[in-house]
């Protein structure tokens, strides 16, 4: 036994200080679960906020630090990953805010709700910095298990069904992942991705087995990214989970998986050229199918949350497209895209939640004629939808443009067909996306509200407290503002 191992472990401890903070939050909330509070929502919310902000501050503190591999190559940290984690922290806080406004469901009375949310942040944060197959697997599992639990938090039959569906789907995905990882371990004798022998041994492994194993091993990540062969659960889960939760699902795990993927691709170079090419083509194909299928499925939806669910599949395609371009420009594009994607999805879900809890608006038709009464909200809605489509003057445009530019550059230097295909399909998909995104503002402003429906909605209308109204407005403003600002000044993030 080497003493240096012990030293390495002790020296790596500061690397996970922010994560330790989140873990402490989880433990505290567990204890809080069994104490009968007078106002459990207050306790859960304030604890989550304090520790969430603490997490972000500690992460900022890590910025530009000299971080090496930690815990014997289990994790590693650099500015790119820290940026990703900061993004996760921000999304977590925003989702906390959305939950606080959610007056209908009384979920926040349950301490477990806050606990599982914190667990998602911990899982995502760990996933971003994992450098070891085992670590990746554990982080994905932590994300998934909390997600299964949270899905059921709408406490109705549909929610339970969705949670069960999610659980079964996730269980199979995770079984396949661990199977693939075990084959990779068998081929290489190590689980550490930073270990040179891992890639060396992979290069000499039989191609058919390697392809099979590698595909299985990334299933877990693709599942979190909701890329196409692993997308069927999104519809039910996003539709039936409480909306702040759906907003969290749509952003945090995906972005975490994206950064993890980026980290893996960064380590690819020791692999032989053919193998790299094969990986790129395979992932490129997944990206292609994801963006197209996601878009086409979204086109057929009648309910807004389902539309957003499938549109997130399509966005996953764009994220994967960034992953496979091994160039600096793609990195920036990826970071930018992920950030914008997170912000605009949060905003979109926030708006949907507002209309859902306040006006019981679920389908497109429910939004008919609301433009007259809620003009200000409508402006926000239009901005978010335009941004989701990827049109100027919103940051969604910059994000897509940067991805396309990166793809084009890569095509020019390597002339690999897949990049061109991705580019073409990406542009085509943006056009398709226009139809279903703009449908919402169209119903909002240009459709007349049915007379009968009017009373129906009035009866169901729920008055949101004034104080909360304002909190809500500010939050959405905070989310929507960057979409405009970043269009004119994208360098803020880069």
């Amino acid at each position: 036994m080497d003493i240096s191992i012990l030293k390495n472990i002790i020296q790596s401890l500061p690397m996970v200080l922010p994560e330790a903070m989140v873990a402490a939050l989880i433990l505290l909330l567990t204890i809080a679960c069994i104490i009968p509070w007078k106002k459990p929502a207050m306790v859960g919310k304030s604890l989550s906020w304090i520790f969430g902000i603490g997490y972000i501050l500690l992460k900022i503190n890590q910025w530009n630090g000299q971080w090496d591999n930690g815990f014997l190559g289990m994790i590693s940290l650099d500015n790119y990953r820290i940026a990703g984690q900061l993004l996760l922290g921000g999304l977590y806080l925003f989702s906390l805010h959305l939950s606080a406004v959610e007056v209908q469901l009384k979920n926040e009375e349950r301490m477990e709700y806050w606990l599982l949310k914190a667990a998602i942040l911990l899982g995502g944060s760990a996933l971003v910095m994992s450098d070891n197959l085992l670590m990746i697997y554990l982080a994905v599992e932590l994300l998934s298990f909390s997600a299964y639990g949270l899905t059921a938090f709408s406490f109705n039959e549909k929610g339970n069904k969705a949670a069960l569906k999610y659980l079964l789907f996730g269980a199979i995905a995770s079984a396949l992942t661990v199977y693939g990882m075990s084959i990779l371990y068998g081929l290489t004798g190590t689980l550490s991705l930073t270990d040179g022998s891992f890639w060396m041994n992979l290069s000499t492994a039989p191609v058919s087995i390697l392809a099979f194993a590698a595909f299985l091993a990334v299933i877990g990540l693709l599942f979190k990214l909701t890329a196409v062969p692993l997308h069927p659960w999104v519809e039910d889960v996003y539709q039936n989970a409480p909306t702040p939760i759906a907003a969290l699902f749509a952003t945090l795990p995906k972005i975490a998986a994206f950064f993890c993927f980026m980290g893996i691709m960064q380590l690819l170079p020791p692999l032989s050229a053919e193998a790299k090419q094969a990986i790129i083509v395979a992932l490129g194909f997944i990206a292609l199918v994801s963006m197209t299928a996601g878009n086409l499925l979204a086109l057929g939806q009648k309910e807004v949350k389902k539309m957003l669910a499938y549109s997130s599949v399509s966005h996953a395609g764009f994220l994967i497209a960034c992953i496979i371009v091994p160039a600096k420009s793609a990195w920036d594009a990826g970071l930018f895209y992920a950030a914008i994607y997170g912000i605009m999805n949060m905003a979109a879900f926030g708006l949907v939640q507002y209309f859902e809890t306040g006006k019981k608006a679920i389908t497109y038709e429910d939004f008919n004629g609301m433009g007259k009464k809620h003009a200000l909200w409508g402006i926000g809605l239009v901005i978010v939808m335009i941004s989701l489509t990827g049109l100027p003057p919103t940051a969604g445009f910059n994000a897509k443009l940067m991805v396309f530019l990166a793809l084009w550059e890569q095509y020019e230097t390597t002339s690999t067909t897949i990049y061109l295909l991705l580019l073409v399909f990406g542009v085509l998909n943006t056009v398709i996306a226009l139809f279903y995104y703009i449908r919402l503002p169209y119903h909002f402003y240009f459709q007349e509200e049915g007379e009968e429906d009017y009373h129906f909605y009035r009866r169901r209308e729920v008055v949101i407290e004034n104080r909360l109204q304002w909190a809500y407005r500010i939050a959405l403003f905070v989310a929507i503002l960057p979409l405009i600002v970043l269009f004119f000044a994208p360098q803020i993030i880069l």
């Binding site: 036994m1 003493i3 012990l6 472990i9 002790i10 433990l27 567990t30 204890i31 679960c33 069994i34 104490i35």
Partner: protein
């Protein structure tokens, strides 16, 4: 006498095979001696003389699943603790690291155990450890004995 060299797990296998063979042997032995005269009455399911209704193959009480879940939680914990238990107090390693080895390992594991204890505390606090008890309905009897005498007896035990 068996005088071959068997490895440790070979011997364990020997035990397993030996005991299974022993049971089969006794089955065979009793088959030689015992009578075999089954009839319909004999082969019915025993239910204290009543005719059985339906099958016993049905659902288990949910409680058992919760116990099983808790069991798995703790067994996994114990599985993780065993390898640790054999190394944390290694005298040589502790000497090499000036005692840091032992204390670091202990702190790490205490944290681990603490988290699991929290799990137990959670199950306890949420009442998952309590077994279903039927509601006790005290029978109403028309007697001259005052109720508090009964209560005194009931509350004592």
């Amino acid at each position: 006498m068996i005088a071959t060299e068997v490895s440790a797990f070979g011997e364990i296998l020997l035990y397993i095979i030996g005991s299974v063979l022993f049971v089969l042997l006794t089955y065979f032995g009793s088959w030689l001696f015992r009578p075999h005269r089954p009839n319909e009455e004999k082969n019915t399911t025993y239910e204290s003389g009543e005719d059985t209704v339906g099958t016993a193959w049905g659902q288990f009480n949910m409680r058992f699943y919760i116990v099983a879940l808790l069991f798995i939680l703790f067994e996994v914990e114990i599985i993780f603790l065993f390898p640790w238990a054999t190394v944390f107090g290694d005298a040589q390693l502790i000497a090499e690291t000036d005692g840091m080895w032992g204390w670091f390992a202990i702190v790490e594991m205490f944290l681990f155990i603490f988290i699991l204890v929290l799990g137990l505390a959670y199950a306890w606090g949420k009442g998952f450890l309590n077994w279903d008890k039927p509601e006790v309905i005290p029978p109403k009897v028309d007697t001259k004995v005052p109720d508090q005498l009964y209560d005194a007896v009931n509350n004592r035990y």
